[in-house]
């Protein structure tokens, strides 16, 4: 059992929790994730490790309450426990001196990009971060990102804060003004796809963190199959980081929708129980 030590609502339906998990906290590196199960009937879902503190033996997770599992997780309070948490899984992001790096975070992607930006800055890169969301209320971790970036650019789809537009608009401009050595993009698949399309003609190496549906997270089931460079990869063990220019985005987008109908049924069963 894994105790929740801290809980914060960062934005509507977006939560940060700190969970006690000593072994994972000791081992975690930026880019890795855990798989959790909230309760005895629960599904296994992956969540990125946003931060890890070996002193208080805990890890930080940030999630958006979009479906049954994440809503159940959101209903837990400090002191409650989740039944399972396993990790750290996946390959860590390759941290080294690249030179000038742009980190592009869309929505909840701000959370997983935070430790990566921090380590990249420590590794003496010049870190430019673009943080985008639909609107002002949904911008999260702005202060944290500011602290670990040399520059922070904010975009909102509705113009309620920062630049009016998409992260890709800001990215295009920054690429024009700077000699960029690496782009790292984390967010919804569709955003990562468009970021990769912007950087591809410019030949700027682009790392993305893919988020297919997973079960075990150890290479045992193949649920997380993605195609990269026309080869099938298991995202949980071969990734989650891949070269964005080689990813088959349409396949990822399609495979994320396998259980659309079932997800609705699951959500209904949750609200029935609540009422």
């Amino acid at each position: 059992m894994f105790e929740i030590l801290k809980k914060e609502e960062l934005a509507p339906e977006i939560y940060l929790i700190e969970v006690k998990a000593e072994e994972v906290a000791k081992k975690a590196l930026p880019g890795q994730f855990v798989i959790i199960r909230v309760d005895e009937v629960g599904e296994r879902i992956p969540l990125t490790i946003v931060d890890f503190k070996s002193q208080n033996k805990s890890i930080t997770l940030v999630f958006q309450a979009v479906g049954k599992t994440t809503k159940k997780l959101a209903s837990l309070k400090v002191g409650d426990k989740i039944v399972d948490l396993v990790g750290p899984l996946g390959k860590p992001t390759e941290i080294k001196k690249y030179g000038k790096v742009i980190c592009v975070a869309g929505g909840i992607g701000a959370a997983p990009i935070f430790p990566i930006a921090r380590e990249l800055k420590r590794a003496k890169n010049y870190v430019i971060t673009i943080l985008g969301a639909r609107s002002k209320e949904l911008l999260i971790l702005e202060g944290n990102l500011l602290a670990v970036s040399h520059e922070l650019h904010i975009t909102t789809d509705d113009g309620s804060k920062g630049r009016h537009g998409l992260v890709t608009d800001a990215l295009k401009e920054l690429i024009k003004e700077n000699k960029v050595d690496l782009v790292i993009a984390i967010g919804p698949a569709i955003m990562m796809k468009f970021v990769s399309e912007v950087t591809k003609p410019e030949k700027i190496k682009t790392i993305v963190s893919l988020n297919p549906i997973m079960v075990d997270g150890t290479g045992m089931c193949g649920a997380c199959r993605v195609e990269v460079g026309e080869k099938t990869k298991f995202c949980c063990v071969d990734g989650p980081d891949f070269d964005g220019h080689l990813v088959d985005w349409n396949l990822l987008l399609s495979r994320q929708k396998v259980y659309l109908e079932e997800e609705k049924i699951a959500l209904e069963s949750l609200s029935e129980k609540a009422s």
Binding site: E23, K27, E43, G219, C221, G222, T232
Partner: protein, 466 residues
């Protein structure tokens, strides 16, 4: 009439079973188990052979005539104790051992009649003991102060743990998933091996002092070197062969195409058949094609039927004779209405147009020259392509070694296919590290994994007693 020498019933005492049409509507066990009367009747067929050849057919050499003798006498507890001297998981092996290739294959009676139903008797006595709440612990000796880490909680790991705890070792099993049992819980379906049976065997080990830590992926959460440097004097690796193989054909990543591992894990481990009471979903296909011919393929096909499929095809590239599955399961699958398409190879999977499977294109095969396994090699017949309309495909063509743990364990020698190399007593190339089960042999059987566990346990004891 004068008493004649007792006639031997030429047939095995039949196993009471759920009717096919009833059982495909539920996930309950198909074979219901012998009654006391059935068991004694079956035991009485046994000739109590002096040099019982059946024993040689059992990978762990259960003293079969001795345990059957106790069944004849109605002393079922003594019978199960006798079995447990060699096999700590009789309720499981009695259900899933391929007896026709093992103990029963060599039964003297089998030369003339049907052999003794050794597996059914084994299952009966183990169930009797458990259901009556009569499972007795064994005496655990004083702790010898030595700690052994067992990685993986499948049959090989459980056997190592059981054997070593009996000798006074302090045992911790590390399991990657959230439930212990390996393939016994995530692979083999409820209707063949009820999870409460597995649970009971595992709880028994825990009562004897075996500690189990789930949610630990060795190689990620902790490495073997760390275990050896921290507190453990020896390590056993029993991680199975869990990496699913795909065919590498067009369309294999479409929605609705599952590896058997994913399909069975969702249903068994995650209980997707009880969705939405349990949270994990599964696509319930109307028409399902399962590719493969082993136990895993049959389990997938029969699972698909129980999830409500109207049609389940089993597509196998060789013929019925070459199927590497248990005979009983094949019969069960036929009775339940699985449609077998032999000598057929999938060529590509076609989309319905929206990212989902719509059909599978196959080609007919004929059997050619024998290959390296001695089975005749199937060769495609050109121009014989045909199409099956399906909405779910399950690929059950085998598994390989998962490189996750070996790649984080320097000094561990592997063979060219990635399986761990051991010597005849289960030692790997790394000091203090032993291995056994599917991660050494490739996908095999429950009882052979247990046999490997037993050998390794002996070697670990020897190594740590020096």
């Amino acid at each position: 009439m004068a008493e004649k020498k007792k006639e031997i019933n030429p047939k095995k005492t039949p196993m009471p079973e759920q009717e096919p049409l009833v059982r495909i509507e539920n996930f309950n066990e198909v074979a219901l188990g012998y009654s006391v009367k059935n068991a004694i009747a079956e035991a009485e067929r046994c000739l109590s052979c002096k040099k019982a050849p059946c024993v040689g057919g059992c990978p762990v050499e259960v003293d079969i005539p001795a345990f059957i003798q106790f069944v004849k006498e109605g002393d079922f507890l003594k019978a199960v104790k006798k079995i447990k001297e060699k096999n700590i998981l009789p309720a499981i092996c009695g259900r899933v051992c391929p007896q026709e290739d093992q103990c029963e294959k060599y039964c003297t009676l089998g030369k003339k009649y049907e052999p003794i139903a050794i597996g059914r008797l084994e299952r009966f006595v183990a169930d009797f003991e458990r259901e009556k709440g009569l499972v007795e612990g064994f005496e655990v000796p004083k702790p010898n102060g030595k700690k052994v880490a067992v990685i993986g909680s499948g049959p090989s790991g459980l056997t190592v743990a059981g054997d070593l705890v009996k000798l006074g070792y302090d045992i911790t099993i590390f399991e990657a998933l959230h439930k212990p049992g390996g393939v016994l819980v995530y692979g083999i379906p409820e209707f063949r091996l009820p999870k409460k049976v597995v649970q009971a065997e595992i709880e028994f080990l825990q009562k004897m002092g075996v500690k189990i830590q789930t949610d630990v992926v060795v190689g990620k959460t902790v490495t073997i070197d760390e275990l050896l440097n921290q507190e453990y004097q020896a390590v056993f690796i029993g991680i199975g062969a869990g990496l699913p193989l795909f065919m590498g054909i067009e369309g294999e990543n479409l929605n609705g195409v599952y590896s058997a591992n994913e399909f069975l894990t969702r249903v068994n481990l995650m209980k997707a058949y009880l969705f939405p009471e349990y949270d994990t979903p599964i696509k319930r296909g109307e028409k399902v094609a399962v590719v493969g011919g082993g136990n895993v393929a049959l389990d997938s096909a029969r699972t698909a039927l129980r999830l409500g499929a109207k049609k389940v095809y089993l597509v196998y590239r060789r013929s019925e004779k070459e199927m590497p599955c248990r005979h009983e399961e094949f019969e069960h699958a036929k009775e339940e209405g699985v449609e077998f398409i032999f000598l057929t190879l999938p060529k590509r999977i076609l989309s319905r147009g929206n990212g989902w499977v719509g059909a599978i294109e196959c080609i007919k095969m004929i059997l050619g020259e024998p290959d390296e396994t001695g089975r005749r090699r199937p060769v495609p017949v050109s121009g014989s392509e045909f199409i099956l309309d399906v909405d779910v495909v399950v690929v059950a063509i085998g598994t390989r070694a998962n490189p996750l743990l070996p790649s984080t364990t320097p000094g561990l020698r592997l063979n060219e296919k990635g399986y761990i190399k051991i010597n005849e007593i289960g030692r790997t190339s790394k000091k203090g590290v032993f291995a056994g089960g599917d991660i050494v042999t490739g996908s095999a059987t429950v009882i052979s994994a247990m046999g490997a566990g037993r050998t390794a346990a002996r070697a670990i004891d020897e190594y740590l007693s020096k």
